[in-house]
Amino acid sequence: MATKVVMEALSPTMEEGRLVKWLKNEGDAVKSGDILAEVETDKAVMELVARGDGVVRKRLANEGDASPVGTLLAIIAAPDEDIDSIVAEAGAAATAAPGAPGEPQGEASTPPPGGGETAPARSAAAVAPVALPAPPMPPRGAGAPRPQAPGQPAQPAPPPPQTGANGRQRSSPLARRLASDRGIELALVRGSGPGGRIVKRDIETAVAAAAARPKTAAAPPVKRLISREGDYQDIPLTQIRKMIARRLAESLGPVPTFYLTAEFDMGRASEMRAAFKEIGDDFKVSYNDIVLKAVANALADHPEVNAHWMGDRIRHFNRVHVAMAVAVEEGLITPVIFDADRKTLSDISREARQLADLARQRKLTPEQYTGATFSVSNLGMLDIVEFTAIINPPEAAILAVGGVEAKPVVVDGNVVVRERMRVTMSCDHRVVDGATGARFLQALRRLIENPLLLVL
């Protein structure tokens, strides 16, 4: 019994994945649970696991290909099992993936005349349902034809595929061979045989129809440009970048955001930090750990900020799950510290470090980066004193933490040098009002400026 290896939704938000590396070859024996490949999702590089025993009979995706969730990537079956029908269905389901056999290779967008420029690279994700608008061609004379929007074959909508009563008889063996050879997608062919079966004449009709259609620009092959020649380089979007783009674009537009900035005195926090360091390296605690713990405790007392916008209502959470933004090579990811209010400072310190490491190695599981009630972003280590962060919907707010810096401040009428840290909270006005936010920041101040309270 063949096992279909499909692109699984490895996270709730995942819509497509990019196959980074095959770990098994065609012909390798595998058992249920063996790792077949590494797949890059919107958040991390995940392992694709075999869900059946057998031999990897066929690999249907290439390294570097991005495929929508549900795409057939490989087939595990007995060594002599007939997998033609499964392969044929896969051939049918594949959309205009670059390099697919038999695809009519329409004119790729020709490079504009002049210079060492190359046509704008389109990522392999061009075929994904997450359709990106076509980047505008550089205005360079009449030579360059306008490329089609990626992922949208510019043909008249094909007839809806017939579902035969008995799925196994959807197409005759001969029809499948013809279709595979001529690059016809079985899923789009209407069957005229018994029970809606696709038979030879249906493929012949489809071939004739395809020949009659004007040739369209197929999605150009993926180009990864690392050279530094020319006026610019285009970097293809990684999954993370796409996810960031999408999610945060969803934030600023619809979310009525306002910003509250407060400056905290870090004197006592600084002392606490130094004191821990003196005890030993095992007890090291960072400013960020202190901030996270303080935020968690403050949120526990302010459920109206520890909240989500649910569209038709607001949800105040009783548990506190704080996401901490971690910069990774490709962008940003936010692992979550669950029930942070109930964890000790050292727990949080340890966990934060572990999660950051995992994040940088792209090894976070979906469970580890979803489910936050509130987010904290810290750019202090990069010498930012103040910034505004973008809310992660449906969260109600996000705290942007700047660096700790020595500054002259006025205390009791005198100018003194104190260590100060600015935070800016972005708030969704549908959930949090100015006063509400301000009151939360007051609570936060009390905890950060009196960090001994965090030990209680």
Partner: protein
């Protein structure tokens, strides 16, 4: 005077099967049949012929019985007795159809019908009465075909010395000498039968081969087998100087540049059958004929007159019982308004010739593939290499598969040998489902069977035959 949904004129395989299907689908049906139910097939064709062939086969086996450890004493071969048995079998089958009619409440109107305008039929019954019957949905012409002579060659049927299959099936004894003019399925079958019963047979055809509609390789193999059995085969022959006497017929045969004179007791003309289109009032009803004289129909078996349909031999070639039967079924389903009707696939009708060795085929011959300029490959497996064939001592013949080079589509399948007409069917099923030669081999064929040769021929066409 009765009213029915459908009236069939003619109760042969097309008519009676169509009637049964129509009755199954809830229509009220009448069949006008002046002779016996089952038509030519049951009474004057398939059934009695196969019964006689069975006798012939037994005769051949008996002649070899000693090899198999059976000593047979003095054996007599009595055609008259064989003939009587064949009549009994034919009658039994006809009674079977009568029983089926009763079961399905189909009315059998015994008489001769004529179209009487506006979907009604007038019948002259056996006792001279005239009746009129209405058909609410359809009148179906299923009058079949009849034997014919070769007047242009001087061979009009006289039922004595120049006979047709009708007479041959009721001869009291096998003649000493016989010329069979026409080496299609009928001619070859009778050549086999009479030869088995001691007749010196000369099988003649104007075409370059016997069984001219079959693949040339099969024709050649059968010719070889016939000649071994002392059946004289003369092909590419022009008949001349026919002299019909009281107890014999003489003629000259021009073939291959040579002329020979032939004198025989009887000449059996088996050069085709004529569609029964006379005295039906077709012209008045607006039913047109084709150039060949058949009733003109479209793929839904409609004639050029509304409400009138035609199926079976009268509606055109191939003049095969199973073709008529299937047309009857399809027509009944069309009349019942079945949305899932599968129309006739004339490209996948099997041909079967039941002489020894049997010849069966479906699809294109190799010559037709050449004429169509198809890119094909041939696979062959001779029965001489078949274990099962050797056990039964029937090692004549082969399985020949013609497949499309690129996709393995089965373009044609041709089998000559013992049980060919039976083992062909897996290939008919394969072609009906667009299986390629690979799918045929996908099925494990039991060993030792003759059917294995079918799978092996498929493998041969792929270059991977095992037992050769």
């Amino acid at each position: 005077m009765s009213s029915y949904d459908v009236i069939f004129i003619g109760g042969g395989p097309a008519g009676y099967v169509g009637a049964i299907r129509a009755a199954q689908l809830g229509m009220s049906v009448a069949v006008v049949e002046r002779e016996g139910l089952g038509g030519t097939c049951v009474l004057w064709g398939c059934i009695p012929a196969k019964a006689l062939l069975e006798s012939a086969s037994l005769a051949s086996k008996v002649r070899k019985a000693a090899d198999f450890g059976i000593s047979v004493g003095e054996t007599k071969f009595d055609y008259g007795v064989a003939m009587k048995r064949s009549r009994a079998v034919a009658t039994q089958n006809s009674k079977g159809v009568e029983f089926l009619f009763k079961k399905h409440k189909i009315a059998w109107i015994k008489g001769t019908a004529k179209l009487a305008g506006k979907n009604s039929v007038s019948v002259k019954t056996a006792d001279g009465k005239e009746e009129k019957h209405d058909a609410k949905k359809a009148v179906v012409i299923s009058t079949g075909s009849r034997v014919k002579g070769l007047p242009q060659a001087g061979l009009e049927l006289n039922k004595k010395t120049v006979i047709s299959s009708d007479e041959a099936l009721i001869l009291e004894s096998a003649p000493k000498t016989m010329a069979i003019v026409g080496a299609g399925a009928v001619g070859c079958e009778f050549a086999d039968v009479f030869s088995a019963f001691g007749t010196q047979v000369t099988l003649i055809d104007i075409a370059p081969t016997i069984l001219p509609l079959e693949d040339a390789d099969c024709s050649a193999e059968l010719t070889k087998s016939f000649r071994k059995r002392k059946i004289d085969v003369v092909t590419g022959a022009k008949i001349g100087n026919v002299k019909v006497g009281a107890g014999s017929v003489s003629m000259t045969l021009d073939a291959g540049g040579k002329t020979q004179t032939l004198e025989v007791e009887q000449v059996l003309v088996a050069a085709g059958r004529a569609p029964n289109i006379e005295d039906l009032g077709l012209k008045e009803a607006g039913v047109q004929l084709t150039d060949q004289g058949f009733v003109k129909i479209n793929e839904r078996m409609e004639t050029t007159a509304k409400g009138i349909y035609a199926i079976g031999d009268v509606a055109g070639p191939p003049m095969l019982a199973h073709k008529g039967q299937r047309e009857g079924v399809v027509l009944a389903e069309l009349l019942a308004g079945d949305p899932h009707v599968r129309l006739m696939n004339y490209g996948n009708i099997p041909n079967a010739t039941y002489c020894h060795p049997e010849v069966a085929s479906v699809g294109l011959t190799e010559q037709q593939c050449k004429d169509k300029k198809l890119d094909y490959k041939v696979g062959r497996f001779p029965f001489s290499a078949s274990g099962r064939a050797r056990t039964s001592g029937e090692t004549e013949g082969f399985v020949k598969i013609i497949r499309d080079s690129k996709y393995g589509e089965i373009l044609g399948a041709h089998i000559i040998g013992s049980h060919a007409t039976e083992i062909l069917h897996e290939l008919v099923v394969a072609r009906a489902n667009e299986f390629t030669v690979d799918e045929v081999d996908l099925a494990i064929h039991a060993h030792p069977t003759l059917s294995e040769a079918v799978a092996e021929a498929c493998l041969d066409s792929l270059g991977k035959v095992i037992h050769l």
